[in-house]
Amino acid sequence: MGANTLTPVIRIQREDFDLAAEIAAISAGRRDIGAVVSFTGLCRDEGATLAALELEHYPGMAEAEIARVAAQAAARWPLMGLLAIHRYGLVKPGDQIVLVIATSAHRRAAFEAADFMMDYLKTRAPFWKREHLADGTVGGWVEAKQEDDDAAARWT
């Protein structure tokens, strides 16, 4: 199965996800995969100052935009599987926020595709984080970072 027939799995959900189950599903019945790269993004406690992150998203566009990014990755690398899950709602320190899995015959394609997906997810997927602080107050909206734009620009 080459890039032409790859159907990326995209899910935007409030619920947590299970990395092992997702890898098992994306690899089921195949013996041609040589490399599986996963990225899991977690909520950090920011030196115990953070109680939770509130993730707002643009329903519909979030799925559509991640699907567009995934289609670019599938066109660029010889992938066998590609998955992206992004949560919304309230997440606490230690909780999972985002998962990307890329599988390929060889490691370079899997590493680069997962890395690319995350850079583009960060800068193009319509999600916004707001901080809920440990002192009980609601902090500000997290500001976008120049380094994320710079990271995404590596692929152009």
Binding site: E65, H86, W141
Partner: protein, 99 residues
């Protein structure tokens, strides 16, 4: 997201479009979405932003920095100079911070 797009309406005809706002843009505008009738002469996203800023202080605060706020037409990212012809839904939001 691309089905049933209206073709570009004649400029002289009033156009109805759904505007949606997210994160601090939503908070400053004071609502999550609204249906507006666009006056004549609003051809691009930037035209729309400048018209919205004249409506009240909330919009003015949201779009204080005209190029900071991002826009999407029919759920696809666009630049400020993009034409709004055919737009059903136009979204405004801060730079993304997901992932």
């Amino acid at each position: 997201m691309t089905q049933a797009l209206a073709t570009s309406a004649p400029a002289a005809q009033a156009r109805s479009v759904r505007l949606v706002y997210f994160a601090w843009v939503r908070e400053r505008v004071g609502m999550a979405d609204e249906q507006v009738e666009l006056p004549e002469g609003i051809e691009t996203v930037l035209d729309l932003v400048r018209w919205l800023k004249t409506r009240d202080e909330g919009y003015a605060a949201a779009f204080e920095n005209e190029t900071l706020v991002r826009a999407a037409i029919n759920q696809t990212h666009v630049k400020p100079g993009a034409s709004i012809a055919g737009a059903r839904e136009i979204a405004f939001f801060p730079p993304m911070t997901g992932g």
